[in-house]
Amino acid sequence: MSVSSATTEMVDPVPGAAAPHLPQQPDLVQLLTPEGERVEHPDYPLDVSAEELRGLYRDLVLVRRWDVEATALQRQGELGIWASLLGQEAAQIGAGRAMADGDMAFPTYREHGVAWTRGVDPLHVISLFRGVDNGGWDPIATGFNLYTVVIGAQCLHATGYAMGLQRDGAETATLAFLGDGATSQGEVNESFIWAASFSAPVVFFCQNNQYAISVPLERQSRVPLYQRAAGFGFPGVRVDGNDVLAVLAVTRAALTAAREGQGPTFIEAFTYRMGAHTTSDDPTRYRLASELEEWKLRDPIARVKAHLSRTGIADADFFDAVEAEADELAQRIRSGTTEMTDPPGTAMFDQVYAEQTPLVAAQQAQFEAYQASFEGSEH
């Protein structure tokens, strides 16, 4: 019969359907359970004041509101695209708040929460996604580099910058952000090697949100990501990425070690992208609703709120005030976005080099002449 020459095996017909989402993880650092209960970890003690806790909650809520508004604006045709951070707020706020003044962050295109902690105006991020500019903030003043869309390239930048800091004798560090998919990129692995070889003061902060667009992590790595660091010769830590306190403690410790000359650390923030990869993506095509429901129970904001209420650190008035502030922020983002003006076509020539070169100047002149040739025609 026709099958005699072929091998036959039993396989799971739905790839990934049986994949464990949060298996038994003895190595996962957690300081605040999904139920909002504070727990201790021997290696990562964290002394956090009531004021700081309320501040973290405010950060989380405002950043989520910003994200929701930006997603809506994209759906209304006001933004070209938006990369949502929904579900990853704690990983970003925790990491951002762990940074000291002189530290420098090297983000991907999703680190809106980190941008927030560095004092970047949300509208300066939005303008990039509206196509008005290439990112409107000052990277040096904010300690927050421009967004890098090329996957993983920022790890090289962060490592090189860290090596520069090292040579300057500065007691600061860099924080490189990357996603789980980026760990498969060559330049990320190169940056790990350079960082290890030179003990560069860089911390690699990987938000493992489980999917590289549609590819689940188990297709990309046979071992948990944090274990890879051992092969490069520096420590790797897996932290509950939906636990803002654990992320804060782990990142703070890693940055301190980097500043003190102990070299790089790899942090795997174990989290989940609750929304689409970007507004051009439809996650229902590659992941199951049950998985999403499971992660909703680990929401990064709900657990902080539960903790604040239970311990009496915050009351209903506080939560209402944060909500009101979030609505104001959303309104400011909405009106600020729609009021952005179209930059002149020649603006692109201004930022190629710090100083204009004769070649660029000639091209600009040609471009202007070409534009002028349309004057008077119907358009």
């Binding site: 026709s2 072929a6 036959t8 017909p13 739905v14 994209q74 759906r75 729609t338």
Partner: protein, 510 residues
């Protein structure tokens, strides 16, 4: 009062249109900012569009099911107060453009020059396709010198054939070229009498070498095809579709529309009546679910060697059992249909013959026998044929299966089937009986090895216990992939399904 219109945005990157699936608001409703207005399906996803305005809905400009070009107003909202409304400004237009044209945004009020200034990439555009006139290539001012690829000369002269074509010059890359091709096609459609040489003077149709070879192998004339790829490039799919479908009429040659215009590919479940040629002069654009179905059916028909076997079954006992079961309390609220019994019989028979629940893995040269049955049910929906499946159907009890089928069909009819529910199927049933026909030769759902067509249950004269009686009779047709399932296995499987339906007590012997 101030009327604002919301234009269909590009919700993906570079989408040109979307289909309005359903409205979530009605005329007279008050809406708040970001309240979902409607659900729109694009080539990428079905998404809800949130309202950019707060106010009262005064007009819904398109019926559900309509495909609308990006940039076309779809809803009018009265934001109250005096025009122009304050706060959430911008209907996709630059504020500058709006202040210069206070009437912009009103019904029918096109922006000056027929085009709305946009801030965002492929953002809103007017659908009138009134654009800057393209200057003839030779008298255009030499654009920017050689560094910019001096443009024009060697580009496919999509627009040069129509001196009055009102389209922008090519300068925004492939997408803009595609847009122009589209606009050009519309212009062509509007003036069908204008003589246009096939391919617009292009001597050699655009296609990659492997596609040319494929066309040669399949005997397809590339010059007679309309390319659906970027810039009118003829793709592999175009060639296979042309080889599968009826011969392309010469009249179609002249079109530059990126969407293929094909006659419907015969597909049993979705086309209850024989696929008659469209009435003369009528053209049905192929898009969305129909386009996906056509591609899938062609792929399936041309890769899996199909065999179809038929069996006529007396299902009188099954129908009797059906009414008994329907009366039981655990089946309250679910539909106990003949389809349920066919599904159950198929699942029982598949347990005996696991090889029917398998896939051919061409790359690995292996047959993949699936560990569970994800039972697909072909469903005719307003959006076209879709095949959602019940995951792990073989592990469900009769009542659970009934509930799953009921939910699956209701979800499909409502057009809310999630894409995940349509992938991972391992075997399919197509219920052609609901259309009153007896049987057919179904085409396999790609990747699967068997599909069972279930015909109408009719009262027929039938020899029962040696006498001619009126019995309830139906026909089953099983198509299978002959690479995976040979005639013996297919026959035994079909006979088992038939035996289970003619005498459900047979199940006890399993």
């Amino acid at each position: 009062m101030a009327l604002r219109q919301f234009k269909l945005p590009d919700v993906g990157e570079g989408l040109t249109d979307g289909e309005i699936l359903q409205w979530l608001v009605s005329v007279g409703d008050s809406v708040t900012v970001n309240q979902p207005l409607c659900e729109v399906e694009t080539a990428k996803a079905a998404v809800e569009l949130p309202s950019p305005y707060a106010g009262t809905v005064t007009e819904l400009l398109f019926e559900p099911g309509t495909t609308v070009d990006v940039g076309t107003p779809i809803i009018t909202i009265d934001t109250g107060g005096d025009a122009p409304a304050p706060a959430p400004a911008g209907d996709g237009a630059a504020p500058a453009a709006e202040s210069a044209e206070p009437a912009a945004g009103l019904i029918g009020g096109a922006a000056p020059g027929g085009r709305t200034a946009v801030l965002v990439g492929y953002g809103p555009r007017n659908t009138e396709a009134r654009r800057r006139p393209r200057r003839a290539v030779h008298d255009a001012p030499a654009p920017v010198g050689a560094d910019y690829g001096s443009g024009g000369q060697d580009r496919p002269p999509l627009l040069a054939t129509a001196p009055d074509a009102t389209v922008k010059p090519v300068r925004h890359g492939g997408l803009e070229v595609g847009r122009q091709a589209e606009a050009h096609a519309r212009a062509e459609a509007a003036a069908p009498s204008r003589p246009v040489s096939p391919g617009h003077g292009r001597v050699r149709p655009l296609a990659k070498p492997p596609v040319r070879k494929l066309a040669r192998d399949l005997g397809v004339d590339l010059a007679a095809l309309t390319g659906s790829g970027a810039g009118g490039v003829i793709t592999r799919e175009d060639v296979t579709a042309a080889a599968a479908g009826p011969r392309t009429a010469p009249a179609q040659v002249e079109e530059q529309a990126p969407e293929q215009v094909l006659e419907q590919v015969p597909d049993l479940a979705a086309v209850p009546t024989p696929a008659a040629a469209p009435v003369a002069g009528e053209r049905v654009p192929v898009k969305g679910v129909r386009k996906a179905t056509a591609a899938a059916m062609v792929a399936s028909a041309f890769t899996a060697p199909h065999v179809t076997e038929f069996l006529t079954v007396d299902v009188t006992r099954m129908m009797k059992l059906r009414s008994e079961i329907a009366a039981r309390p655990q089946f309250a609220g679910v539909k106990v249909s003949p389809l349920l019994f066919v599904a159950k019989a198929l699942l029982l028979a598949a347990r005996r013959h696991p090889m029917v629940n398998s896939s051919w893995d061409e790359q690995a040269q292996e047959i993949v026998v699936h560990g569970q049955v994800n039972l697909g049910i072909a469903a005719a929906t307003p959006r076209g044929l879709i095949v959602p499946n019940v995951k792990g159907a073989d592990r469900l009890s009769m009542a659970e299966l009934a509930a799953a089928l009921t939910e699956l069909t209701e979800t499909a009819r409502a057009g809310r089937t999630a894409p995940a529910d349509m992938t991972g199927g391992t075997i399919t049933i197509t219920n052609v009986g609901v259309f009153g026909v007896d049987t057919g030769t179904p085409i396999l759902n790609p990747g699967e090895s068997a599909i069972l067509a279930f015909g109408a249950v009719r009262e027929m004269p039938w020899v029962h216990k040696g006498k001619v009686r009126v019995r309830q009779v139906t026909q089953l047709a099983l198509s299978f992939d002959h690479r995976v399932i040979d005639g013996e296995l297919g026959s035994r499987f079909l006979a088992d399904v038939g035996a289970l339906l003619s005498d459900p007590r047979t199940a006890l012997a399993y």
